[in-house]
């Protein structure tokens, strides 16, 4: 018993302490979302009265088109995820299975471009899309399709390494068999690769969904109109320094927006962790 204490107690002490550190802000947001007064000030850390007031405000108040924001976020992140996984997997397949001149150079260039943090070119993106707006107001600055296009610019690079690793692991014999049966490369991609890779594609799609859902600055720059905003931009603008007044509805809104993401993340934990050690970085 004594030995157990000596060997394990400090581990539990650290574990509990850091768990408290992790959970504390989240706990605070949850209880303040149920705080009837809706203000940032909490009289105690253990709630005495629970109320749905803040959630009610969130969905009913005309000042916060929260449902529209959620819909926008789901639409943008969903479309980006689906299209970018198609683009990414096609490129990964070609890099893995097809022979063409400049293949190695292509991979290296892609890697190089990837290293350029997108945010550095943000003023150029802004100016270019402003010009696009001059002749095509539907896809330029200030529109969701425009934002979508900008997000898709990075589609080929982002997940290609994960996907290429997976394509590499599919046995060549399958392709060869398909080839003997007369399948073209495009058919091999659709009929062999896509069905086999479906689980991986699903994971990559969801990860890309999380990434886009979480994107702030481009969305902020593009979506000026209240009703086109994503939930991240909408809530940020709503709280905009007015913490003491708008805290309650904000807390409720951030919880509703976060829960699905946290659930997706936790269920994909295994893949994300293995992706981390493969070199992708968040945080």
């Amino acid at each position: 018993m004594k030995k157990w204490l000596r060997e394990n107690s400090w581990r539990h002490a650290i574990g509990i302490f850091i768990c408290l550190f992790s959970i504390f802000p989240l706990y605070l947001v949850v209880i303040s979302s149920f705080n009837p007064s809706g203000s940032l000030q909490l009289t105690s850390f253990i709630p005495k009265v629970l109320s749905w007031n803040n959630y009610h405000t969130l969905f009913k108040s005309p000042a916060i088109p929260y449902l529209t924001w959620m819909k926008n976020s789901l639409y943008i992140a969903g479309s980006v995820a689906l299209i970018s996984v198609m683009i990414g997997s096609a490129a990964a397949f070609a890099f893995s299975r097809l022979n063409f001149t400049g293949k190695k150079l292509g991979i290296q260039l892609l890697l190089l471009v990837q290293m350029f943090p997108a945010i550095l070119a943000i003023s150029a993106v802004y100016v270019i899309m402003e010009r696009v707006h001059n002749f095509a107001p539907d896809i330029g600055l200030g529109t969701q399709p425009g934002l979508l296009l900008v997000y898709l610019g990075g589609a080929m690079g982002v997940n290609i390494w994960l996907l290429k690793g997976f394509v590499d692991s599919i046995p060549m014999e399958l392709d060869e068999a398909a080839k003997i049966d007369g399948a073209s490369a495009v058919q091999t991609f659709w009929l062999i690769f896509v069905p086999l890779a479906a689980p991986v594609l699903a994971v990559v799609t969801l990860m890309s969904f999380i990434g886009t859902f979480n994107e702030y600055i481009l969305a902020r720059l593009f979506l000026v109109n209240m009703n086109t905003r994503t939930v991240a931009v909408g809530l940020q603008q709503f709280i905009g320094g007015q913490y003491s007044q708008n805290w309650g509805p904000f807390a409720a809104g951030s919880i509703i927006a976060s829960v699905p993401i946290v659930i997706i993340f936790l269920s994909l934990q295994k893949y994300i962790v293995s992706g981390l050690t493969a070199g992708s970085v968040k945080g």
Partner: protein, 513 residues
Amino acid sequence: MMTLLRGKVAYVLKLIVVLLISVVMLMLTQHAVAQHEYAIAIFLAIAVILIAFTYLTQVSVPLKFFIPGLLLLFAFVLSPILYTVVMSEFNYKTGNILSKQQAIEQIVSRAVEPDANGTSFDIKIGVSNGVPALLASDTINKTYFLATEKSRTDLTPDQVTLDANEVAATAPNFRVLTPSEMQTADTKYSNARFYYGKAGYFVTLEGFDVGIVSHQVLEYLPQQGIFKSLVDDSVYRDNGRGNFALVTDSSNMLNPGWRAPIWFENYTKLFTDAKVRGPLIRVFIWTMVFATGTVLTSFALGLLLAIAMNKPMRGRRFYRSILILPYAMPSVMSILIWAGMFDTEFGAINNILGTHIAWFQNPSFARFAVIFVNLWLAFPYFYLISSGALQAIPTELNEAAAIDGANPRQIFRKITLPLLLQILSPLLIASFAFNFNNFNLIYLLTGGGPRNVLSGEIAGGTDILISYTYKIAFGSNTQDLGLASAISVVIFVIVAGISLYGLRKSKVLETFK
């Protein structure tokens, strides 16, 4: 499925899709040409050709897989990068945003002055025979006339009806604009010059109710490329930096200017202009301190945790699922939540500490808060990669060391830690590069502040290079896209250097494995 991919059906489907896309893109090309956006038009035209060529012929199979991704990559990643470099060579800031042609047109249209007597009329704006017109009234002399841009028709008092203010409201061949037309008619009317009848003079609008008799004071001479004053014959010449400046006094410039190439001036400004250099150096130092500090603190906490949890023990799965929560939360939300917790009056942090610290008003406190919040956001990541790396270290090494009489502390310092660092260094470097540009954290938590508003300084105490650049490019008072682009290019060189170093390290990792 098979029929969709093979045979005539597939071919027809493909043809329809390719045609639809081509038609849409060709329409866009045409619009782009109409707006003189030739670079974009050329890109679109080439894209259409490439798409049609790739999907309707069998010349290149790999291109079929790459074309959509490549075109998007070129349009929204590569060309912005190139354009950033181009912009950094230009004097491209508030007051110098337009093209030269647009700037000249603007100067001409702005260079009007009221006549010597300040003659003005009460007016109604409207339409006469389908063209913009105004109905002017001199309420004192009871004279009225109807003016379009081409002609003037004098009216007798019995041809008009007056409103309560004795201003003519109706006239033959004239219809007053409805309020909804007014809202959209702004530019068409405010830039118009209505015929007055006296040579060199015309009527311009001063708001929607008053017209003033004005005359042109500056004239553009395209052959010489200069502006000449019609009042005193003074000459304004292109100063080579995007403005027309008075020949005798170069600080007297005409507005607006245009974006003009100034080559490396934006770069040299970074090092020579004290107003730019001072803040830039401070921001750069803090960026380095922040990126290093945040990686070190988060790595230390993550590693401590990984060591503590690196043993099968009761509750490990439970701890793990709680510990990962900060990483699973959408970071934009977490940062905003933390910003609320650091609120001076009602925030939880001051509440618990029993203090009344204005966290974001004091540079030191704000910097501490930034690193602290990022510790919360990032430590789970370092915990995950550290525990992965710990498991990759062969236990035989530790056992051998133990047999040789090393105590646990020595084993950790001499064996585990060096190996860990070697395995993780590419990820630590990548994380450094990421935090070097961790815009969201700074922007959403402190907004880069606190900053000295009185001195007109735009760099705040917690601004990192990227948030500082953003402020320069999109600031509320002046926007200097040229300078911002130059800083972006410098940041890119730094980050690319760091990343390349990291990549080489990760090759080391491969050989190590």
